[in-house]
Amino acid sequence: MFGRLTWDAIPFNQPIPLITSLVVLMALAVTAIWITRNGWWGYLWNEYFTSTDHKKIGIMYVVLALLMLVRGFADAIMMRAQQSLAIGNSQGYLPPEHYNQIFSAHGTIMIFFMAMPIIIGFMNFVVPLQLGVRDVAFPTLNNVSFWLSASGALLINVSLFVGEFARTGWLAFPPLSEKAFSPGVGVDYYLVALQISGVGTTLTAVNFVTTILKIRAPGMSYLRMPVFCWTSLASSLLMLAAFPVLTATLAMLMLDRYLGFHFFTNDGGGNSMLYMNLIWVWGHPEVYILVLPAFGIYSEVVSTFSGKPLFGYRSMIFATLAICILSFTVWLHHFFTMGAGADVNAVFGIASMLIGIPTGVKIYNWLFTMYGGRVRFTVPMHYAIGFMFTFVIGGLTGILLAMPPVDFVVHNSLFLVAHFHQVIIGGVVFAVMAGYTYWFPKAFGFTLDERLGKAVFWCWFIGFHLAFMPLYVLGLWGATRRMQHIPDPTWAPYLDVAFVGAAIIGLGIVLTVVQLLYSIKTRDQRRDVTGDPWDGRTLEWLTLSPPPHYNFAVLPDVHGEEAYWTRKQTAIKQDQLIAEPNYQPIEMPLHSPTGVIVAFFASVCGFAIIWYIWWLAILGLVGAFAVFVWYAWRDEHEHVIPLEEVIANARERRRIRKEHLHNLSQSV
């Protein structure tokens, strides 16, 4: 009746997961009660959960990611604590079967449910605004994609209370992840959660490639698109091309585990090397999926806060596309030590180094964007400059790892761990923090507190270096990754420094929450009245903050690169706005509960598959299909925003902008 689900699945006799589960459930209950008390369910349902508005969906992605950041960070600090304690005779406080779940969950959550959603969230919020259009190509599909990601995140978190998580690392290599060596439910949670959210990601890719290539404001040819849109395009193309490989590979592992197939097993002719190849064919493009939009954020931030256009725009685009293509040619560098031979290793090593060329060019282009500028050291600029220092070291260590004989002694070591955290934190996390601060006022109508923001930056910058610089040393000393117990006591001081670094990062995360709450409380002091708090250069700053549902009353005509900047400068010089355009009523897509309901059935089906509750799995599938059919039968797809509303909003915007630009023109 309930498959292999029994009461034993609940960790009554394991204090750490038990207490964590209780705390999380209490937090959820408190939040639910607070929302009910304030009567906010209706607002949340109509304005966010069922929204097809790219801005709202973007915000939901970011919220999901920040929640998962807390979970992923909790895993990290537990790992650091264990490695500081479990030295010599001590086994620490985490036996291997827990420690191994924790590091597997840390990696899985940080990549799939923190970094991916947050990058996709930014793409969602910003790209249609920067393209000067009203929404993405497929708004309801966009909502479905979000909820599928949330469904995956839910399943991962359920594994904490019911059953266990994978104990294989975040990529679940066979044969360890095969049934013979991982008979429990952990790997199944991992596989099912990733398959569900993987569908969401592939659909997001379809959405964004279509939007960027087919839906732009009039006059915005390819070479007039903002760089963030180019990098989002490159990232989406990578998602489209890479995620199906992940889907196929994980499906094959599922077939091995569920139906006794022999893709990667030790017997029956299975080949575990095949998994290594397939998973990294996905895995390497994945990190570029994350880092390319991050580079796009830096391009926006550096040019805005230097008061200059981005240096070498076409060169940046070429570099972006070069990285996009090259990222598919390097996957073997993740397993140089598999023994493929000198020729193969050398070719892939050189290919991996080649990616350093366009990346280096980008760094120089940002550098020369600052040259001749008027640099303002706002919080986003702190992150951009911090990135320029941090990321180049990460690149250095990356090229070292790309050298096969060097890799032979640091593969899978703490040196590797430090490298990838350096490029992900220095590259992606700093960009996300910069973008969060930069676009927050556009989303919510007020800026975040600057002082607390700088404190958060320094926590991340200092904390990161303290946490990971010692790991480079330890890696060179022979420390491998994923160790529940440390063999050499002389490594202890380094691990202690690393723990302190992690704690400082934790402080940074706490301060981020404090900053948010404080900024909300004092928001009237920092209202974004004009919609352009940073003297921006791209079209999202044309709107008020937050923009109306439909973004622009009339889609802007684009005449050249930096559409908004030239338009603004003209308006300042002439001390008047462009002529009032011809307003029309606007049709916008309807909200839809399709996403929420499909994700509900996906979660049910997923949970049932994990626990072998076959009747429930079939019910879940049938339910999901039924929702599609029901959705397909609707006759109303859009609602109309009446002309009066459009005109009223537009004229209010013009009034405010006229005043703002008039002030600017007086001060010039």
């Binding site: 993405v136 087919k214 404001a217 009039p218 007039r224 890479a242 897509p589």
Partner: protein, 214 residues
């Protein structure tokens, strides 16, 4: 392709300006955007099949002492199911033409024929799988068989999903008539159905033809 009366994608009422830079006239209409997005999805599906083809190629000789392709495949059966699938695609094309002409009777008849031929394909495939399992060549026997059943079975699963979609489309056309959004969906279905044909040609060649070479 777009006409002035065509519904623009996502509530866009601006009809373009004089100075349009290097050829961009603003957001494209739904009749362009929807099939374009669907083609991208089909491309991603082809990447999925590529991974399965790559796996098949790696594991084709990993028979673990068990039966190999040339001992199991029956070319005549495969020829019939290929014929059925190709005919199904042809008839689907005719159905789309009938739909453009808003001919309800022929649209439904041709869509039904599409489904029937697709069903014949599936029936033969299921028969083939069952007889292989009965002969002692189930997917659990060896890596080669695992990869064969998965590659061919994945295609079959897509055909099954396609038939479910087809049934839904037939019902929707019947109840709603030839409205623009229904027409777009039918176009997407036919893209999907033809794409499955393309993949089948690859499977037919790589798995069955090459697998039964003397």
């Amino acid at each position: 392709m777009s006409t002035v009366n065509e519904a623009p994608a996502v509530g866009l009422t601006h009809h373009g300006s004089e100075d349009t830079g290097l050829g961009n006239r603003g957001p494209q209409s739904k009749s362009i955007v929807v099939p374009y997005g669907f083609w991208l999805f089909v491309l991603s599906d082809m990447v999925l099949f590529s991974a399965l083809f790559a796996t098949y190629a790696s594991l084709v000789h990993a028979t673990d002492g068990g039966p190999a392709g040339h001992q199991l495949f029956h070319r005549s059966l495969v020829a019939v199911e290929t014929g059925a699938l190709l005919a199904s695609s042809f008839v689907c094309g005719l159905a789309v033409i009938a739909a453009k002409q808003k001919n309800m009777l022929w649209t439904q008849v041709l869509l039904f024929a599409t489904g029937l031929l697709g069903f014949v394909f599936l029936a033969i495939e299921i028969y083939e799988f069952r007889s292989m399992i009965a002969e002692g060549a189930p997917p659990q026997r060896s890596a080669f068989l695992s990869s064969f059943f998965t590659l061919v079975g994945c295609h079959g699963a897509h055909v099954t999903a396609g038939l479910l979609w087809l049934g839904t489309m037939m019902a929707q056309i019947w109840t709603k008539g030839f409205q623009p959004h229904v027409g777009r969906r039918l176009l997407c279905f036919s893209i999907f159905w033809h794409a499955l044909d393309i993949i089948w040609v690859a499977i037919f060649t790589i798995v069955y033809l090459i697998g039964t070479l003397p």
